[in-house]
Amino acid sequence: MSAEAHGHDHGHDHEHEHHHKDTFITKYIFSIDHKMIAKQYLVTGIFMGIIGIAMSLLFRMQLAWPEESFKIFNVLLGDKFAPDGVMANDIYLALVTIHGTIMVFFVLTAGLSGTFSNLLIPLQIGARDMASGFMNMISYWLFFISAVIMLCSLFVEAGPASAGWTIYPPLSALPQAIPGSGTGMTLWLVSMAIFIASSLMGSLNYIVTVINLRTKGMSMTRLPLTIWTFFVTAIIGVISFPVLLSAALLLIFDRSFGTSFFLSDIYIAGEVLHYQGGSPVLFEHLFWFLGHPEVYIVILPAMGLVSEIMATNARKPIFGYRAMIMSVLAIAFLSTIVWGHHMFISGMNPFLGSVFTFTTLLIAIPSAVKAFNWITTLWKGNLQFNPAMLFSIGMVSTFITGGLTGIILGDSTLDINVHDTYFVIAHFHLVMGISALYGMFAGIYHWFPKMYGRMLNKNLGYIHFWITAVCAYGVFFPMHFIGLAGLPRRYYTNTNFPLFDDLQNVNVLITTFALVGGAFQLIFLYNFFSSIFYGKKAVQNPWKSTTLEWTTPVEHIHGNWPGEIPHVYRWPYDYSNPNHDVDFVPQNVPMKEGEEVLHH
């Protein structure tokens, strides 16, 4: 029966639906094909990722060996910011700021969501392309422009934005307060405004496509969890990104046109400024109204990818499909009402702190449900340890480790003392940084054959994962301790505090792990770029997966399916279904006569 089902789509390679000539420019540059746009997002994201991670290695070196001279600093940062190879304190803050901005927005939002939403939404729901291919193209090119502007800001004379990725005014508003708040900050704001426009276009496209273009039989409860998470992520993005845009615009007004939305009663560089009546706390509210949902914008797609990859490689249905959907919805809803936990000690009314503690700790419940469901998915599975599967298991592991410390940070009482220390850095890097990166890597290893028609080398993948896994824990686990010792984040060095002298050895260890982990990403880059050209040719469905993208031919064509779009008859997780002899039944295989649905 299901062998027949396999043959079903192979026969149809006789005609291309959209038959028009592609020039180099329309095929590779201004493409409106979602698969090409996905690859553009991915390559841009990887490029930004290299820069973002390299920056973190630079400032980690400064933290481990404070104010020591390194030739590489001088080469990369120039004489102004690293005279004699010693990193200056203002460029340290700039590196921290741009590292955060690039990793959060350009790599883990655009690079992750942009790549996989674009690639998988049409392929997995059975659509020929996005609802608006043109808008999709504009979305990518706006992202590209914003990335270029962000990179340009690295080269302005006074240095790039350096008020932290959260750009709290007044620091970000006043060039007198920090040099990076001059032209560098202007470019940062312009870049982010364009980025938000890009992100909104992408998100609207994803939402409309998922709602309208599902193939026959693809009801919402037959969508793979990837699509559910992309869909919900897009909704959160549409709700929260405009708020950041308004915050950015108001900040531009304050900076350039003398308004006082966020500034009041300021005396700096020997003079009183005219601002009156504004409040930096207002900015914090606006910023975190995006900023907190943003971490879910980053992690939800990773969760979707991991759920899908785990089910495929465990040869088992994802445990609790409906519970997974419900928990994604619950997380999405709660994520918009917890932003205040970044502001317990911002000076807002402590009563609000109580409310946000309550909502924040609630979010642990759907998160726990997800974690337990993943673990149960592994139970009595037939686990195929492809590199994508390793990264998925790694993602669950770091998500749990990082998520648990959220119980401390989300509790206003405990946050008082660990707020803005390295404890926070350890927490969020594990729970959303590393976890989302693992999700992204898992996605790349899993869908590389779909993107490039070739396979990634698995042995390099294994080495990449295990070294990364050890180094990630090596970097962020000890960081909890220096946070609990009370060491504030964003300190150029802690040598001015003999109190913290005993933390220096830990800092050296962390940096060593970071350097090794960073260096081993080169293996991935080599694997990725060489496999595009020389990788083993992929077969149509290398992982024996049930979802629709594996029914398309290996060669990319416009419109995805050569013949008719397949219809869908079952949910996406019919792995090892006892009614069938093979261990996977694709979604486009009709139900056997009298076959019972074995799940909720």
């Binding site: 009183v272 726990a368 009370g486 074995l598």
Partner: protein, 394 residues
């Protein structure tokens, strides 16, 4: 030296990498020379064992970390409410370790146990309402307890009763320095605004307010043991955060508004220095400093001073290039010493009077230099405006 180290590390890494590739290659032998790049049974087996090894790594690394770095964490709280905070923290830690131990154990154990092979078929187990209810309800109950305890503590810490007997102190933040203002005899701080900053009145205290007369401005914070200190915080330029790690106290300083935090210190500086954990910590730090000093002296530098413990107030909100060096010494005195220390300080009103008396002759000179700058600026602005007007006319 460092570069040599880097080279050695790189070489070792290369060797390690080569060895690893070899190991993975060797495991392929016999598994038919298939190069599909899809995991074979052999891969599953090897990776399954590595999974198990990684679980051991996590456990061992956690235990190693706790033993080696556990004592770096802040110890005995030096404030009354700190006990409450640390108590909740410890309960939370126990919970976290239990959950972490179990979930990571299950995750990697299942991975190891269920490593795949061709002859196996996975169990079709799509859902179970009972299980899902179980792990929705248990976290809910546990979290409810944590939330209740947390909110109880939070309300205790953050709200100061109006009729409570407290000492009012203003903490004033600016790039990159802390200043404190004591309310004086009347225990009421005079009004202040940055627009009133002038000369040595660097905090912009409104001297026409009758409560300002007895205010005292100092650059080292002294507080008495056993008495509630109510801090009112201001900032003159950007956001800062007043962070007292040993007192488990922190609050942002926000330009344009007054924020507050109150706590009761429970150990004088002298007492805190004598706590056993602190003696050990300081000895360790001094050992490290002595080692560094040897190195420094060998390179022609000066040796580091030995360290004695003091409470500190740090800035914990990025505030500019020298954010990493914004600190103030905090001294907890016995109530008698505190009274004595405070009585030796002059009030702001006296300071201003003294400054005026000594600076009168200099004032005139300063005034002219100020106005010259202003004039120059005005002239430049005028020229630019005229130029713009000209262009606009054309």
């Amino acid at each position: 030296m460092t570069s040599l180290l880097v080279i050695v590390v790189l070489v070792l890494l290369a060797v390690a990498l080569w060895q690893l590739t070899r190991i993975f290659d060797l495991t392929q032998v016999g598994a038919s020379s298939d190069d599909s790049q899809v995991a074979s049974d052999n891969d599953n087996n090897v990776q399954g064992y590595v999974m198990f090894g990684f679980l051991a790594f996590i456990y061992i690394f956690t235990i190693y970390g706790l033993l080696k770095w556990g004592n770096l964490a802040l110890h005995t709280p030096a404030s009354e409410h700190g006990l409450l905070v640390d108590n909740l923290m410890n309960i939370t830690w126990v919970l976290i370790f239990v959950v972490q131990f179990i979930t990571q154990g299950l995750l990697y154990w299942f991975s190891f146990k269920n490593r795949g092979n061709k002859d196996k078929k996975a169990l079709f187990f799509a859902d179970s309402n009972k299980l899902e209810a179980l792990w929705s309800i248990i976290p809910s109950v546990v979290l409810a307890c944590l939330i209740l305890y947390g909110l109880y503590a939070w309300n205790n810490i953050m709200f100061v009763d109006k009729d409570e007997d407290v000492i009012e102190i203003e903490l004033y933040a600016q790039q990159f320095k802390w200043t404190a203002r004591y309310a004086g005899e009347d225990n009421v701080l005079g009004k202040a605004n940055v627009r009133l900053i002038e000369g040595i009145n660097t905090l912009g205290v409104d001297m026409s307010d009758k409560n300002s007369a007895d205010d005292i401005v100092v650059s080292e914070l002294h507080i008495p043991k056993g008495k509630k200190v109510h801090f009112k915080m201001r900032s003159q330029d950007v956001l800062h955060s007043a962070y007292f790690p040993h007192f488990r106290a922190q609050m942002n300083c926000v330009p344009g508004m007054v924020t507050e935090f109150a706590f009761v210190p429970t150990y004088t500086t002298a007492e805190y220095r004598e706590l056993p954990f602190m003696i050990e910590k300081v000895a360790n730090i001094n050992k490290l400093r002595a080692e560094n000093s040897v190195k420094l002296v060998a390179e022609g530098g000066t040796a580091l001073d030995p360290y004695t413990f003091d409470y500190l107030l740090l800035c914990n909100k990025i505030c500019g290039a020298s954010h990493y060096n914004m600190q103030m010494k905090v001294v907890v005195d016995t109530p008698e010493d505190y009274k004595k220390w405070l009585s030796e300080k002059t009030t702001l009103a006296q300071d201003i009077k003294a400054a005026k008396a000594s600076e009168k002759p200099a004032e005139a000179v300063k005034g002219t230099s100020d106005s010259t700058i202003k004039d120059t600026v005005n002239a430049v602005v005028d020229t630019v405006a005229a130029a713009i007007a000209k262009v606009a006319m054309k």
